[in-house]
């Protein structure tokens, strides 16, 4: 049986990220917010290749992304630039992705993060199936973490006789 990360695993990882970097004083935790999001403003992802293939995607509003960058850099929101947002969200995706990867079968490799700022449709990820998801609310802004497994590669592998 293949080991797969679960919703609970994502909650544990997110909790560690929030308590270490985004909410060390424990004043604004990531709260569960069970409403699936179809469109987001900022999307940061890392891809996993190897024994398991797919993506770990962190999505949120621009406001949440700004707050995250401000918290990580220790600066006021007005000082946060688009470059800061891309760097901060990319690093968060990298941390979450690295921790998710530790739950996947070895050997796997993690890509460098890829960040999209602007309206991102959820269908942006073709040929994937959702393995687990965390829908949360942070400072009244939506935050979502998804683990998406590539189905195309797996099917192609199984269908190929050579």
């Amino acid at each position: 049986m293949t080991i797969q990360p679960t919703d609970e695993d994502l909650s544990t990882i997110a909790e560690q990220v929030w308590s270490s970097y985004l909410d060390p004083e424990e004043v604004s935790p990531l709260l569960p917010f069970p409403a699936p999001v179809r469109t987001t403003e900022v999307s940061a992802s890392v891809s996993v290749t190897g024994s398991w293939r797919g993506h770990v995607v962190l999505s949120c509003s621009v406001r949440a992304a700004k707050s995250a960058a401000g918290a990580l850099l220790g600066v006021e929101l007005e000082e946060v630039t688009t470059e800061d947002i891309a760097d901060a969200l990319g690093e968060l995706a990298n941390i979450i992705g690295g921790n998710v990867k530790s739950l996947l079968p070895e050997p796997c490799a993690l890509s460098l993060p890829h960040v999209l700022v602007g309206r991102v449709e959820k269908e942006h990820w073709p040929a994937v199936t959702e393995i687990c998801r965390l829908d949360g609310s942070w400072q009244d802004e939506m935050v979502q973490i998804c683990v998406l497994e590539s189905v195309e590669d797996k099917d192609a592998g199984e269908a190929s006789p050579s």
């Binding site: 270490s20 990298n94 941390i95 690295g98 921790n99 993690l110």
Partner: protein
């Protein structure tokens, strides 16, 4: 006294620097590098007391950086600060001569516990 911090994320370099201060290592000057190649050049230039490096970086990754240092005959204490920590990576890091592997997210307590014996 210097610590070199190599990470392609400026945000993470800042977090590592801040965590070093919180862990009580504020007496060390932090020298930053944005990838392994820059890390190698700056380590040769600055001769830090410790190198803290990310694993996954463009240009030259962390393990190539460490191998590059050892090939130059530079045996400065070296540790990884990375989001990944599989048993395979730990083995590779140890075989290359890394002293430790700290997993992100980390806290000041983790830094103190691991770095105190090295930096005294």
């Amino acid at each position: 006294m210097k610590i070199l911090v190599a990470d392609d994320s400026r945000v993470m370099r800042q977090i590592v620097s801040r965590t070093l201060r919180q862990a009580g290592f504020s007496g060390y000057e932090v020298v930053e590098a944005a990838d392994g190649k820059e890390g190698l050049d700056r380590t040769i230039e600055h001769k830090p007391d410790l190198v803290l490096s990310d694993w996954n970086m463009p240009e030259m990754n962390g393990i190539q950086f460490l191998n590059g240092l050892r090939n130059e005959g530079i045996n400065i204490p070296f540790g990884f600060v990375t989001s990944e920590s599989t048993s395979e990576m730990r083995k590779t890091a140890e075989e290359a001569g890394a002293l430790f592997l700290i997993t992100k997210p980390f806290t000041a307590d983790t830094f103190r516990e691991i770095l105190d014996p090295i930096l005294g």
